[in-house]
């Protein structure tokens, strides 16, 4: 089998989307890795829905303070200029359109940018947390995910069959195989993992994907 990108590399590719000065929220799981992967020439302000703006990289075991955690329960480090607020203020920022980019995990993404990332069969008690607010409120929603399920089934689908987080919200999908933009005309394949071909990626994708004119290998 050909190589796929590992989680660290997917997160690194996502972090390249963070423009200088942008306000970014990182979802549960793989997106959290982005905190340690900001391009060196940029300042990024990480917001966390439990009520924090401007935190630094993840804390080492020695640095851990359980009253300085991100929304994924990970202890983080302080930075000058950071601030704390309550959860209601955190969601004014989120719902009010003051977050430039959110990076979220997903079970499924549809070809129109629909997102399913909180519920799955057999686990009716798992909740959406702040995912719905982030998907609706952030100016740009980036999804980082594995291209296929454990069984090799597609996660990028015509219509989500898992419970929806929000309709038409995802702008960019970054997987272990490809970078795809959600456009008015469907999914456009912008970048592809080294050694993979368009038909091979399409075969693992339920939704139609159109190669971009400037399709290239995923660059980091």
């Amino acid at each position: 089998m050909k190589d796929r990108l590992d989680e660290q590399t997917i997160a690194l590719r996502a972090a390249r989307e963070f423009t200088d000065g942008s306000v970014v929220n990182l979802g549960y799981g793989m997106p959290g890795l982005c905190a340690n992967l900001i391009p060196g020439d940029r300042t990024v302000f990480f917001q966390s829905e439990n009520g924090m703006l401007g935190y630094g990289i993840l804390a080492t075991d020695e640095e851990k303070d359980y009253e300085l955690i991100n929304a994924s329960d990970q202890p983080v480090t302080p930075l000058p200029g950071m601030c704390f607020f309550d959860s209601a203020a955190a969601f004014d920022m989120i719902r009010g359109g003051h977050i430039d980019i959110v990076v979220l995990g997903a079970y499924q993404v549809s070809e129109t940018g629909g997102l399913a990332n909180w519920g799955r069969p057999g686990r009716p008690a798992t909740g959406m947390g702040g995912g719905m607010d982030l998907a609706v409120g952030a100016k740009k929603v980036i999804v980082t995910m594995l291209h296929t399920t454990k069984d090799g089934g597609p996660r990028i689908v015509g219509n989500c069959t898992y419970p929806l987080t929000a309709r038409r919200c995802v702008s960019l999908i970054i997987t272990d195989l490809a970078v795809m933009e959600v456009t008015e005309n469907g999914l456009v394949l912008k970048e592809i993992a080294p050694g993979w071909t368009v038909p091979e990626v399409q075969a693992l994708t339920e939704a139609d994907i159109k190669p971009a004119e400037d399709l290239k290998e995923i660059e980091l």
Partner: protein, 237 residues
């Protein structure tokens, strides 16, 4: 003033929580900001048929070791004890944990009801309850299971759903410092849901790391004004 808000123990502070009460539990979910000692006191006190409003449902003592070495008690103990009838919150169970948190187990057995609320909507419903609003329109949840049974309205061309305020008989919250009249400050991300719950409950009970004399907290930095605080227990960290 003759009113004394200071209680000697968490047990005394939660003694009158009654069967069938609605109880908000502050914090975010895991260790930081959770009123652990008040939760444990409520589990000993034994009130039944509670409605619990909290961001997360708690993972229970056993699973808590995965979040913090040594583990800690959370609302899981209230579910384990069979004290809860209904849970309202955004993360009843964590998808990243195996399905064995006390709330998830009881829900799957049909013994607890769950009302699932997006986290920002939860925060805003609490603020609405605190501030006397009748409800608000949010775009969050449109087109999802969250909109089921709710009024929808198009305002300026965008679809919204109507969400109603939340209030409670009691809130159990955690703060860093309190002065003797009950003004509160928090520490870092342990602030989270505590201030809005303090405002939204009829009786707010707070455990604090440290009591300080009135006048010691800078009036510019007080987060929860004392009128939202009814009972204070000092539990040094």
């Amino acid at each position: 003033m003759t009113i004394n808000k200071i209680f000697n123990s968490c047990d005394e502070a939660v003694a009158d929580i009654f069967d069938g009460a609605t109880v908000m539990i502050g914090g975010f979910g895991s260790y930081g900001g959770l009123p652990i000692n008040l939760i444990v006191a409520l589990s000993k006190q034994g009130a039944k048929a509670l409605t619990i409003i909290a961001n997360m449902g708690g993972v229970g003592y056993e699973l808590s070791h995965r979040i913090k070495p040594g583990g800690y008690q959370d609302s899981g103990i209230l579910f384990e004890n069979g004290q809860v009838r209904k849970f309202i919150g955004s993360v009843p169970a964590l998808g990243g944990m195996p399905p064995t948190s006390p709330l998830e187990r009881l829900f799957n057995e049909g013994k607890v009801e769950i009302e699932m609320v997006p986290q920002g909507t939860l925060a805003e419903r609490l603020r609405g309850g605190a501030g006397g609003l009748g409800g608000f329109y949010t775009p969050v949840g449109v087109g999802t299971t969250v909109e089921e049974g709710k009024e929808k309205k198009v305002i300026n061309g965008r679809e919204y759903i109507l969400e109603l305020p939340l209030t409670a008989d009691f809130a159990l919250i955690k703060a860093h410092k309190a002065d003797a009249v009950g003004n509160l400050v928090y520490r870092q991300t342990a602030r989270c849901f505590n201030p809005v719950m303090a405002m939204a409950a009829k009786t707010t009970i707070v455990e604090v790391d440290e009591m300080v004399p009135t006048g010691r907290l800078d009036p510019e930095v007080i987060v929860t004004p004392h009128i939202y605080v009814n009972r204070i227990v000092e539990v040094p960290a």
